[in-house]
Symmetry: C2
Subunit: 200 residues, 2 copies
């Protein structure tokens, strides 16, 4: 059977994270049997995102605006404080706390030799340029990469790269989650929680 | 943040079977951070399937050809034997055995009151028309809907609908899978396997 367009579409779906060939076939056959409209609405939505969504020139968050994103262009946020995150999702999670009123920088990844992600794959060059152009107005960088092996390595790498600049470099705390149970925390988290204890 | 195109794309992905909002966001953010090309290649592949793939006029299998599919148009297959399946996937599974040389009819679903799928949602009207137009040339219908509650109900419904036609109606066998272990077969399968025992 000459179903090459179908096979090609299955291949494209398989490129999505966590999606294998089997699930991909299920997507395609579902649309063909039960929801042909989705073929059109999904393709149109993809085109729209491709056309309207770009990265902010400064912080690399996704945005619909030209030049700077709303956060970078905002006058009510503190430009002397930058929070560096690994991903768009992580930025959105921090923003959802409503506790951070500084600016951001999105690396779009963490260093991972296993997955072949090196320093050049991160938005690091542009961060150094950003610091240089800020001429000392940035006072603190909170490195909020995840507390995983890759995230910690990335944090170390970033700290190393910017040591020439005079700004405070901090790292988000890690420890037992609020509401979490000590007996179910992994050993490393508990050790970290003890080591990073603070005055009461 | 005005990220409406992203939210709209997330909604479209969420319409795929088994995909929730969380996974949907992961798809979209993955493409934005790491694979912008996929936005284009996926949308193009969707458009191509929408334009090139249609249902065969007779058996309702997907095809790239106008009118009849390759199977229906083939002169080397037996038109007196029709195998009725619930889905494109099931047809492909049977075709992969290389053991069936008859024609097919794809219902694109099974009766399921729970999911609101009634007789009108199946490609049943066209099957009755097909039988009428065959003028008795179809000798046997193998009902190969799955041996589930819905699949059995669908098989019964189909058998009831076509009792006016003089053709042999058969059902695929169900029982302990080849290579399977009796102790791990469920009770119903084992009962069925005993009830449907055959001479040695």
């Amino acid at each position: 059977m000459a179903l090459d367009p179908i096979k090609h579409l299955v291949e494209q779906f398989s490129k999505l994270p966590g999606i294998g060939e089997r699930t991909s076939w299920r997507f395609v056959l579902h649309m063909l049997s039960h929801d042909r409209e989705l073929l059109t609405s999904l393709s149109e939505a993809l085109v729209e995102v491709g056309q309207c969504i770009r990265e902010c020139d400064r912080c690399h968050m996704v945005t619909t605006t030209e030049g700077l994103c709303a956060t970078c262009a905002s006058v009510s946020r503190d430009p002397s404080l930058i929070c560096m995150v690994a991903s768009i999702q992580d930025l959105m999670a921090i923003e959802a706390t409503n506790d951070f009123r500084g600016h951001y920088h999105v690396l779009h990844g963490v260093l991972s030799p296993m997955e072949g992600i090196g320093p050049r794959d991160l938005r690091m060059e542009s961060f150094l340029r950003r610091l240089r152009e800020s001429e000392g107005s940035v006072k603190e960088l909170i490195i909020a990469t995840p507390p995983t092996v890759e995230g910690e390595a990335t944090a170390l790498y970033v700290a190393e790269q910017i040591k020439e600049f005079s700004l405070r470099i901090t790292r988000i705390a890690s420890g037992v989650p609020v509401g979490g149970d000590l007996q179910f925390a992994d050993r490393l988290t508990l050790s970290r929680s003890l080591a990073l204890r603070r005055g009461f």
